[in-house]
Symmetry: C2
């Protein structure tokens, strides 16, 4: 399981690894990955999040964590969020969260391998892996080097997004990585003035996509300004909504 340089790889006991992927950027993958960890944590599970988006990391900001990891004889010790979610991300190792990480594929691959092998995650019920957009080095490294239990695919209603998300689904099939299910995000919006519910990005064919890949449709999430705002303030752990509760149930 581990080509670790540190004892961590041999000490870690991670029961399941859930990768959250979309292929397409901006569909809400990181927010849903963070909320999945929050939901599991609310049920008392021991949870970690591995941010495999090396050049566009969002997890520390969403969960309000700025503290860098520390080194110990056991390995790299991941900082924790306010509710006790362990986090590992390249952004925690930068002086400034806006610093560019201008790395080609091999550096991305070795960073992800280090996050899996050399971080002392300890005993976890679940490790959530937030994936970057695309089907390149990071996605290959996660699916080939981590014992991924399953992938949650996130899409938004537009055909354009769906086309790229299907590429990610095909990638999972090629690499024999099971799909846990498919979530549609940004499905509708409710006007704060008149209360009408309407769609901004059309009516997606996400259920048909779930059927095509023989995987459950896990539900729709509406656009909620409060989610974006709490995410920007590093307080996504305070977010609560019917859509998310139904998803995490």
């Amino acid at each position: 399981q581990s080509q670790s340089n540190s004892p961590a790889g041999n000490l870690n006991r991670v029961k399941s690894v859930i990768a959250v992927m979309s292929g397409k950027g901006g569909v809400g993958k990181s927010t849903i990955a963070a909320m999945l960890a929050v939901g599991l944590r609310r049920k008392g599970r021991r949870v970690g999040v591995l941010d495999s988006d090396i050049t566009g990391p969002s997890i520390p900001k969403l969960l309000g964590v700025r503290e860098p990891p520390t080194m110990s004889p056991l390995g790299i010790m991941p900082p924790q969020s306010s509710t006790g979610i362990k986090i590992m991300s390249i952004n925690l190792m930068l002086e400034d969260e806006e610093q560019a990480v201008i790395w080609r594929g091999p550096m991305i691959t070795s960073a992800i391998n280090q996050f899996w092998n050399d971080v002392f995650w300890g005993d976890l019920d679940a490790l959530v892996v937030d994936m970057p957009p695309g089907t390149s080095d990071a996605a290959l490294t996660v699916m080939q080097s981590l014992p991924v239990t399953g992938i949650i695919l996130v899409t938004s209603p537009q055909d354009l997004a769906g086309m790229v998300v299907r590429k990610a689904a095909h990638m999972a099939e090629h690499l024999n990585t099971p799909l846990v299910g498919l979530v549609e995000n940004m499905s509708y919006v409710i006007c704060p003035h008149c209360g009408e519910r309407y769609t901004l990005f059309g009516k997606g064919d996400t259920r048909a996509m779930a059927d095509a890949f023989n995987t459950p449709f896990l539900g729709e999430i509406g656009i909620d300004p409060q989610m974006a705002e709490l995410g920007d303030r590093g307080a996504i752990e305070q977010y609560d909504s019917e859509d998310f509760n139904a998803l995490i149930a």
Copy 2:
């Protein structure tokens, strides 16, 4: 200018190369790149679009082009959109637009180099380059191998997006690639029922970002369901709006 295997590299006369970048996915980068090309074409310019998002290509779908490129003694001949915009994208070379392209960095780099060196673009007033999310192989290859005249940065109002877009701006600075300006997309929405204008993703600090990078703020674009719909139908060339006209002016 060219390490070309074909005569194209020596015959092409491209007056300017404008890269549209964000670092963050889903902010509208591809749609704005396509609309920039459409706007220039409406003014009678000879325009091409190079889709450097190899694993998540959107340009052919937005511009409604399915015809594959053809080989000629001059090089790879790019198909054209209905209004005459030349296009080159990996998606035009696939049997099925949903097929996954599971390539690591070096393959991505060589594809982008081929799109620049071996495609017979001919005489162009402008080549628009649509960039993928991230600051990895594709972005490095475009900035190091193409004579980029300038970069248009696209962000959305959320702080989370802004943080990652600033990484892209820092990358451009490190690579001495000039910034043309900064566009904020998804800035507001107008309710189709009551006509109220409101924000979904907060009030961005994009003007402050433009100042910080000493580059012009090029304007705001609202969320318009018609833009997503025309994009999904491959008819973005029919889109028209005050926000876009102000941007392209």
